[in-house]
């Protein structure tokens, strides 16, 4: 056996065991002597430190970056909020809870029973954890509590930062809101480095979410000495463990300067009133967004410190979807505002020119189906200009028909930025839809029909656009074809105001319109507002050359016998959406606007006034010498009425419901969030037949 040969060595080993025993005793003796040193010799001092001089790490919250508008008007600020907290342990230790609570109740106007009830509610948690008794103390209350602080152990005022949206509901979708980071997000956020802790705030929507990394600062830390009752010791020297107070300063987040103009936002909000819908205004020279708003809205300030669930549920269940950003999250059939695309396609592809005249009888037959014009009796002879002015459906049916295929319309729609996301720096943007023959084959496995091209020609059928796309398209029309990527952030600056980053316009599509097309589009849009026959004549801004196009989007499919029924007589939820898109001034456009007024019935009366208000505010603010009230009056007087640059072939258009035509393959009604794909339209022949 092996061990027999090892006896010698084992005996040798056994001699050495005394060294081992000695080593163990020495080691233990060292430990014991250290224990004596710390606990017996220095015990009093250490006990003193632990009881009287506790060193505590205190987080210094880094302020989040502020958000300004283009003129450095403050939009989102961090304002201090004061909360009253009680640490039950210290209260208990003081053995005078009753007196403290009764004194506190008079100081912060809260019944003693209420305070007791709050404390009771958190009874199960460790007693050294602070309990929030009252939030948002007034300045007077803070001062009162601070002056009685020595008499009230365990009571403290905690300062917290309340993210405040200064203009409340205005542009809350755009600016977004913050909230407490939730436990499921944490592992993902901290995958690379430890950045967020439980209880930290994080952007949850809008710009607050998209530029989180820029806005967020870096928390600092401070070591403070607190006494046994949790009060921070202030006096220096005596008995302090730390020679000097040490702190790592918080690094504030960076500020954003937006392209938005708050005056325009206010003007738009005022014009909207209680209406539902959204507006986007863009600078056609750069793609900078000047105004962007969705109604109804919510107050993001309520979100910043935890939103009560009742408020949240009310927002969530509101049938007008206040939490949805209607500028980018919803898409609508653009209706007549899309006719410009058909017109541009016709002119650019050479199938029509300014002399092309079409006779509108009020309807048009394709195969065995009839396509109506919104005007029952027809518009008579119309050319491209009068067709735009009066929004003649039959003219654009004919243009659509003359084109090789629907793909020609799609080509120009895409050049103008439709059918794909604009790429704006906001989450949840939908792409809208511009149908092509291939698209239909791919998604429905069906051949494109000629009739569908007609519907597309007047912005119906499958066509869907967001308000942002519409605004950007009109911005592109306004500048003659250059499509910019819309952007919101003009500059990023450090917390102390040094510019760190400047954003420049980004061109997406550079397909210029032929000068002739550009001219005709501008003249057509001009006439819509500035001539008596136009569909938005009431909205003209004399001297400002405000131009645009009205449109209507059906909410429900209307049968043939009801199409000429008055919109206002329908149930509110069934009423058409009013749409308007335009720009100003026509000769040298500086602002393009698109508006949707949900259930507003008419583009001309519901949507155009909002666009008009924004444009007027903008021109007066930025070009006072040309567009200020006095300047305009003087110019009008000198020039007389502006000369109508084209001859109109017919008189006024009476009917404003220009987009509302009973087509079988109209887009399905929009209600609430839209699925990306509209359901399959009924096969021809099944739908209601007029005539």
């Amino acid at each position: 056996m092996a061990f027999l040969g090892q006896e010698e060595q084992i005996r040798e080993f056994q001699d050495r065991f005394r060294y081992l025993y000695a080593a163990v005793f020495i080691g233990i003796a060292l430990l014991v002597s250290r224990l004596v040193f710390l606990q017996i010799l220095n015990g009093d001092k250490m006990r003193h430190y632990s009881e009287e001089n506790r060193i505590k790490r205190v987080k210094i919250s880094a302020p989040r970056g502020m958000i300004f508008d283009r003129n450095k008007t403050l939009l989102i600020d961090n304002r201090p909020a004061f909360d009253l907290e009680i640490i039950p342990q210290y209260l208990k230790e003081s053995k005078q809870s009753a007196q403290v609570i009764s004194r506190l109740s008079t100081l912060i106007n809260l019944k003693p029973e209420e305070i007791e009830a709050t404390l009771k509610k958190y009874k199960s948690q460790p007693s050294f954890l602070a309990i929030k008794v009252k939030t948002d103390l007034s300045r007077e209350e803070v001062a009162a509590v601070e002056s009685w602080k020595i008499e009230m152990p365990g009571v403290q005022v905690e300062q917290e930062i309340k993210r405040t949206n200064i203009y409340g509901e205005i542009a809350s979708h755009l600016l977004g809101y913050i909230g407490e980071v939730n436990a499921t997000e944490l592992p993902k956020l901290n995958a690379v480095t430890q950045r967020y802790k439980q209880g930290d705030s994080i952007g949850k929507f809008g710009l607050e979410q998209r530029v989180e990394d820029t806005l967020r600062g870096q928390d600092g830390e401070k070591l403070v000495e607190v006494d046994a009752l949790g009060r921070i010791k202030l006096e220096k020297g005596k008995g302090r463990v730390l020679a000097t107070p040490l702190e790592k300063l918080a690094a504030p987040g960076k500020n954003l300067i937006l392209t938005i103009d708050q005056d325009l936002q206010n003007a738009a909000a005022k014009a909207f009133g209680t209406s539902i819908g959204s507006i986007v205004a863009i600078d056609p020279r750069s793609g900078a967004i000047l105004s962007m708003m969705s109604r109804p809205s919510f107050d993001p300030t309520e979100f910043s410190r935890g939103i009560p669930s009742a408020v949240w549920n009310r927002l969530l269940n509101n049938e007008n979807h206040p939490l949805r950003d209607k500028t980018i999250q919803d898409h609508y059939p653009p209706g007549s505002t899309f006719k410009i695309v058909t017109g541009v396609a016709g002119l650019e592809e050479g199938v029509i020119d300014e002399h092309t005249t079409i006779h509108c009888t009020g309807s048009m037959r394709v195969g065995n189906r009839v396509y109506h014009c919104h005007k029952k009796g027809g518009h008579g002879d119309v050319n491209i200009l009068t067709a735009i002015t009066q929004s003649c459906d039959v003219f654009f049916y004919r243009v659509a028909q003359k084109l090789k295929s629907v793909d020609d319309i799609a080509k120009w729609a895409k050049h103008l930025g439709l059918g794909k996301r604009t790429g704006i720096n906001l989450a949840h943007e939908v792409s809208g839809l511009i149908p092509t023959e291939a698209w239909k084959m791919k998604h429905y496995n069906q051949v494109w029909t000629a009739g569908e091209t007609l519907s597309v020609g007047i912005g119906q059928g499958y066509v869907l656009t967001t308000v942002l796309q519409l605004a950007n398209m009109y911005a592109s029309l306004a500048n003659g074809g250059t499509l910019y990527k819309p952007y919101l952030i003009k500059e990023v600056e450090s917390f102390d105001g040094n510019t760190l980053q400047t954003f420049n316009p980004e061109i997406v599509d550079q397909t210029r319109l032929k000068p002739k097309t550009y001219e005709l589009v501008k003249q057509g849009l001009w006439a819509v507002i500035n001539t008596q026959h136009g569909t938005a004549y009431a909205q003209r801004l004399p001297g400002m050359d405000f131009v645009g196009k009205t449109g209507t989007a059906q909410v429900i499919n209307i049968s043939a016998d009801k199409i000429y029924q008055k919109c206002e007589n329908m149930r509110f939820k069934d009423r058409h959406h009013g749409i308007f898109a335009g720009f100003a001034p026509v000769s040298n456009p500086v602002i393009a606007v698109a508006v949707i007024a949900e259930h507003g019935c008419h583009g001309g009366t519901a949507a155009a006034p909002i666009a008009r208000a924004v444009i007027k505010t903008y021109l007066e603010k930025y070009y006072p010498t040309i567009y200020g009230e006095k300047a305009v009056a003087a110019r009008l007087k000198a020039e007389g009425q502006p000369v109508v640059p084209i001859k109109m072939s017919r008189k006024a258009a009476e009917d404003e419901d220009e987009g509302v035509v009973p087509n079988d393959d109209a887009a399905p009604p929009i209600q609430g969030p839209m699925p990306f794909l509209p359901p399959l339209p009924p096969t021809p022949g099944e739908g209601p037949e007029a005539e």
Partner: protein, 384 residues
């Protein structure tokens, strides 16, 4: 009473094959280490309940610790049924399997506090570096058992055992886990000294270490490790970082004074001034609440534990048994010494758990298995 190597505690009839335990053997069964282990674990759980009673993160962790102890007891039974010579046969298998696990940690390990130390098995998280200490000792015992070097080890003879230690120590350093790597190196050095190193070689090695340590400090250590050493020498130099831990821990121990603040009344731990107070700094919780008296009792129990272990080694009749027991008790000694020394501000802060008191499944499991093996050696003095 002690036995000489030729005597046996039990009367054995010539040629009788002994398997398992006889009644008389059971009567004379050496329960000492198992009993001390129970006492230490009992204190550990009692203390852990206090240490984990306040923080959301660690609340109720002692239950997990109890579960691990239960699993450990099952393993103990299993080890006691076997003969420890089994470990001699599978020593290298255990060693290489553990090396593979260490490598796996580096590839697919889970991170925590900036280091990759854990590996997941289903729902379990194990820390192979803890087990490596035991595997290492088994492997070294096996190596020296069969090695025939006489008259002390020189550099040449030491080459292979150094390699056997350097590989796992290196892998553990990469995690990085300086504390565990140091324990392995200390244990190896202690064993080597016990087995005898030639005086010349010893002097050479000491001078090499004296030269390489400053170089390692400069080039091989991570900044946070260097920081720990700097702040050990001068805690005030970095009171926010590791200096903070050291200061708070010393305050905790010292403020316990003679009789302590009372169970669950340690303000340093209960008010969260102490970092990691349920794992590496568990001793500061104990000493704050139970004072000098409590600490002396605890240290005395550890001393009795170590002495009992050494006596098992002393009485063991084969080289493998002696070296294995010795190695295991070495690991225990270094853990106790380094951990308490670090908590009391005598040594730099390196992550080393205190056996039976610190929370941690892998550490507890390794300790329990170690005790089971030593108990086995204590009761089966002959190899057949």
């Amino acid at each position: 009473m002690t036995y000489t190597s030729t005597e046996s505690p039990l009367p054995i009839e010539e040629g009788q094959l002994r398997v398992g335990m006889y009644d008389e053997e059971l009567k004379k069964f050496n329960w000492n280490l198992l009993i001390i282990q129970f006492v230490l674990f009992g204190i550990g759980i009692w203390n852990l309940i206090s240490a984990t009673g306040v923080e959301d993160k660690s609340l109720g962790l002692y239950k997990t610790q109890l579960l691990w102890f239960g699993i450990g007891m099952a393993l103990t039974t299993l080890i006691l049924i076997m003969h420890y010579s089994f470990f001699s046969r599978v020593a290298y298998i255990i060693y290489f399997a553990n090396i593979l696990l260490l490598a796996a940690v580096l590839v697919a390990g889970k991170s925590s506090l900036g280091a990759k130390r854990w590996i997941g098995f289903g729902g379990l998280r194990i820390q192979p570096s803890e087990f490596m200490k035991l595997s290492m000792v088994i492997c070294l015992a096996k190596y020296f058992e069969t090695d025939r070097t006489v008259g002390g080890y020189g550099l040449k003879e030491m080459l292979l055992p150094v390699m056997l230690v350097a590989v796992p120590a290196g892998l553990i350093m990469l995690q990085p886990d300086l504390g565990t790597a140091l324990i392995i190196l200390f244990t190896f050095a202690s064993m080597m000294l016990f087995i005898k190193v030639r005086p010349k070689t010893l002097i050479l090695l000491i001078s090499i270490v004296a030269l390489t340590v400053p170089l390692a400090y400069q080039f091989a250590m991570k900044p946070y490790q260097r920081q720990r050493i700097v702040s050990f020498i001068d805690p005030q130099s970095d009171p926010k970082g590791s200096g903070y831990n050291s200061i708070q821990s010393m305050i905790a121990v010292g403020s316990g004074q003679l009789t302590g603040k009372g169970y669950k009344k340690g303000t340093q731990s209960q008010l969260n001034f102490l970092p990691e107070h349920h794992t590496d700094f568990i001793f500061s919780v104990f000493s704050e609440e139970h004072g000098f008296v409590g600490c002396i009792i605890l240290v005395a129990i550890y001393l009795v534990f170590l002495l009992n272990g050494l006596s098992v080694a002393y009485q063991s009749h084969d080289k493998f048994g002696v070296l294995l027991t010795l190695g295991i008790m070495n690991v225990f000694f270094w853990h106790i010494f380094v951990n308490m020394g670090m908590v009391m501000g005598m040594l730099p802060i390196v992550g080393v758990p205190l056996p039976f008191l610190s929370y941690g499944g892998s550490s507890l499991m390794t300790s329990i298995m170690s005790v089971a093996i030593v108990t086995n050696i204590a009761n089966k003095k002959f190899m057949f």
